[in-house]
């Protein structure tokens, strides 16, 4: 269901990080920023949408970050980071010019082949849109180039209007022909005129034919479970639903053991996994 990374081996990029320079920093939400980075010298192998890097803030530490953007040239990367701990805060605060270091690309990618000539639903909860963003870019490219048919729906939920990431992108996508974009928030502000409620409620008006739909879902686990359940009720089979999993990671190379989810090593067998495989595992508490 998911696509295994073609990279491997050892050494620079695998276990030893490669320096990258922050060239632009964009504030997404009050605690979230997107860093556009380019290699100082050598570049990591090209990332596929859904894959992640281990991002190192000098002297602070390293965290897994999905690529939220992949440059056309394959060299430039975007990473979207929410400041929740010492390392993520240091990365979040990295001003243009700052050098960080990256390893990767690690893990599985969104299986784009499953989306070819199908209706596609991209369902995101908050910053869960980050790993889905390069997928949306690829889907739009494929459709505008005539490489794929089918309708595209992008459904995004956020806690509040101010916490909607990639607001500019979302607006731009909604202007694309054949693309249905819907946004909902849990806590609307006084000026919010859009939808209020959980993201799964947006499925009601999304244009898709369940029997020929592929869905890509990323967000909190409870949201992914709800989305997969609602999709199943509407006739989208679990093996047509891909999710992106989150677990602690220290190595990215399948050796440290932290990212286990039952039989899965999420850094190797994920983060992208079919819901037919991941779903049953997510039903166990504390697995």
């Amino acid at each position: 269901m998911s696509v295994r990374s073609a990279t491997g081996g050892s050494g620079p990029g695998a276990t030893v990080p490669v320096p990258y320079r922050v060239v632009r920093r964009t504030r997404q939400t009050p605690d979230t920023a997107t860093l556009v980075v380019e290699p100082v010298d050598r570049a990591l192998p090209r990332f596929a949408p859904g894959q992640f890097a281990m991002a190192y803030a000098f002297g602070r530490g390293e965290i897994p970050l999905s690529a939220s953007g992949i440059g056309e040239d394959g060299r430039t990367l975007e990473h979207t980071v929410r400041a929740v701990g010492a390392v993520s805060a240091a990365l979040h605060d990295s001003a243009p010019g700052t050098q960080i270091a990256l390893r990767g690309p690690f893990g599985t990618a969104w299986d784009l082949a499953r989306a070819r000539d199908r209706d596609v639903l991209v369902v995101a909860g908050g910053i869960g849109l980050a790993p889905l963003r390069p997928l949306v870019h690829a889907l739009l490219r494929d459709r505008s180039a005539g490489r794929s048919g089918g309708r595209l729906g992008v459904l995004v939920g956020a806690r509040s209007p101010g916490e909607l990431p990639f607001a500019d992108d979302v607006e731009e996508w909604s202007a694309r022909p054949g693309t249905h974009v819907a946004v909902t928030v849990d806590r609307p502000g006084p000026r919010w005129t859009g939808e209020v409620g959980v993201v799964t409620a947006l499925l009601e008006r999304a244009p898709f034919t369940p029997g020929r739909t592929a869905a890509f879902v990323c967000g909190p686990e409870v949201m992914m479970r709800a989305a997969a359940r609602d999709l199943a009720h509407r006739g989208v089979a679990e093996d047509r639903v891909q999710v992106s999993l989150e677990r602690t990671m220290h190595c990215g190379t399948g050796h440290c053991g932290h990212c286990q989810l039952g039989p899965l090593l999420v850094c190797r067998d994920g983060p992208v996994a079919g819901y037919d495989r991941a779903g049953p595992l997510l039903t166990y508490r504390e697995l």
Binding site: R4, S5, T7, G8, G9, S10, G11, P12, A14, T15, V16, P17, V18, P19, V40, Y56, F58, G59, R60, G61, E62, R82, V84, G85, S88, G97, T98, Q99, I100, A101, E246, R247, T248, H250, C251, T253, G254, H255, C256, G257, H258, Q260, G262, P263, L264, L265, R268, Y284, R285, E286, L287
Partner: protein
């Protein structure tokens, strides 16, 4: 013990063992073997066979380990000790790289060159030989390779000591990992210690060209029938003296089928989540990285150290640990060891050495826990008319069976 056709079998006496250590050292190996220290048989670098634990045996029980003198003077009759060879192949702590930041903000990262030490392990018991093979797959068998491990492993010379004295907590027979060294296992030399009226001697066979070369350099005599027979009997007899037995059920399926069993609450009420079992386990491989800096703030280092899945931080996520309860952490350890290891690395993670039983401060017994889960599973999955038998294909009852 399995004969490999065409393999020379020879007999070394005690002086021959001394010559083996000298020969391995002369070939540039750092020889590591069992030795007695602090009331235990530990692993250490040895410069002479005299440091081997001649005349020392051990008594194992759940939560208990004691040295005891042996009248026969045997050197390799002590079964599993508190350490395993992973302490050398997969060190407890090591530096992976260093990084420096210049005044202009430029970062330079330098990979740590692993020391090119070439170990010779003397006295690897078959359960531990299997454990090394398990770690080979974990650390060297995937898309990414732990190059430091691969190098240490590739240079290591393995001298197996077949097990003739299993402990009360041993269950290698039910895991298919001992007490003899299987013919298809990768080792350089395999010894079987024999002490009887014919004297104290070691039947030895080579398992690799390097092993044959070393053997050819030692003072030895051709294997005589009596020694070969005594060695065969000693290993065969050891197989009948396992103190524990793992249930013969499909453990992989058992672990997947009992994730919500009541037994997890029972074991969690005893487990201290200390992590001892993971430290002494010869296959447990988990590590954490630590990033440290110096006072200038411009020099940083990446260290890697052993980690235990019993540590609360092991499953840390921004919202809190995935596995906060002791129940979930014990379940992670056991289901990984006996179940999901198959999914991840193609074999069981347990080799039946019994260390986790011995060094558990409250004496939790992996074979008892598996048997209890098996009973609970059978009771739930079998119709009530069929009595729930622990699924033991080998016709032995699980748990304590030993002397």
């Amino acid at each position: 013990m399995t004969d490999s056709p065409g393999t020379e079998r020879a007999v070394l006496d005690r002086d021959g063992l001394g010559a083996l250590v000298r020969e391995l050292r002369a070939r540039g190996h750092t020889v590591v073997g069992p030795t007695v220290r602090d009331g235990a048989v530990v692993l250490d670098e040895i410069d002479s066979a005299d440091r081997l634990p001649f005349g020392w045996g051990v008594e194992h029980e759940a939560g208990r380990y004691r040295l005891r003198p042996r009248e026969d003077g045997a050197a390799f009759a002590h079964s599993a000790g508190p350490q395993s060879w992973k302490a050398y192949l997969h060190p407890q702590r090591l530096r992976e790289w260093t990084a420096d930041r210049e005044a202009d903000g430029r970062i330079t990262v330098r990979a740590e060159e692993p020391a090119r030490v070439s170990y010779a392990f003397l006295g690897v018991q078959p359960c531990d030989l299997r454990a090394i093979a398990v770690q080979d797959r974990v650390l060297g068998g995937g898309a990414y390779t732990d190059e430091g491990y691969r190098g240490r492993r590739a240079r290591a010379f393995l001298v197996v000591a077949e097990c003739t004295e299993p402990g009360a907590t041993c269950f290698c027979v039910s895991m298919g990992t001992g007490p003899g060294a299987p013919g298809d296992a990768a080792y350089d030399l395999a010894l079987t210690e024999v002490v009887d009226d014919g004297g104290h001697r070691f039947l030895v066979r080579a398992g690799s060209p390097a092993g044959a070369e070393v053997l050819a350099a030692l003072p030895r005599r051709p294997a005589d029938g009596a020694t070969a027979e005594a060695a065969r009997e000693a290993v065969a007899d050891a197989a009948t003296r396992m103190g524990r037995t793992m249930p013969g059920t499909d453990l992989h399926a058992l672990m997947a089928g009992t994730l919500e069993a009541d037994r997890w609450d029972d074991v969690a009420s005893r487990c201290l989540t200390c992590g001892n079992c993971t430290m002494v386990c010869p296959t447990c491989f988990c590590t954490s990285t630590e990033d440290v800096g110096d006072l200038t703030g411009d020099h940083a280092e990446r260290w890697r150290r052993w980690e235990s899945c019993f540590d609360l931080d092991f499953s840390h996520l921004p919202g809190g640990p995935v596995r906060s309860s002791g129940r979930s952490r014990y379940r992670q350890w056991l289901t990984h060891k006996l179940g999901t290891w198959h999914d991840q690395f193609g074999s069981s993670g347990c080799v039946g050495c019994g260390r986790c039983i011995v060094w558990c401060p409250v004496g939790i017994d992996i074979t008892e826990e598996a048997a209890a889960l098996d009973r609970e599973w059978s009771a739930r999955t079998l119709p009530p008319t069929a009595p729930a038998e622990p699924g033991d294909a080998r016709g032995r009852s699980p748990g304590r069976t030993g002397p």
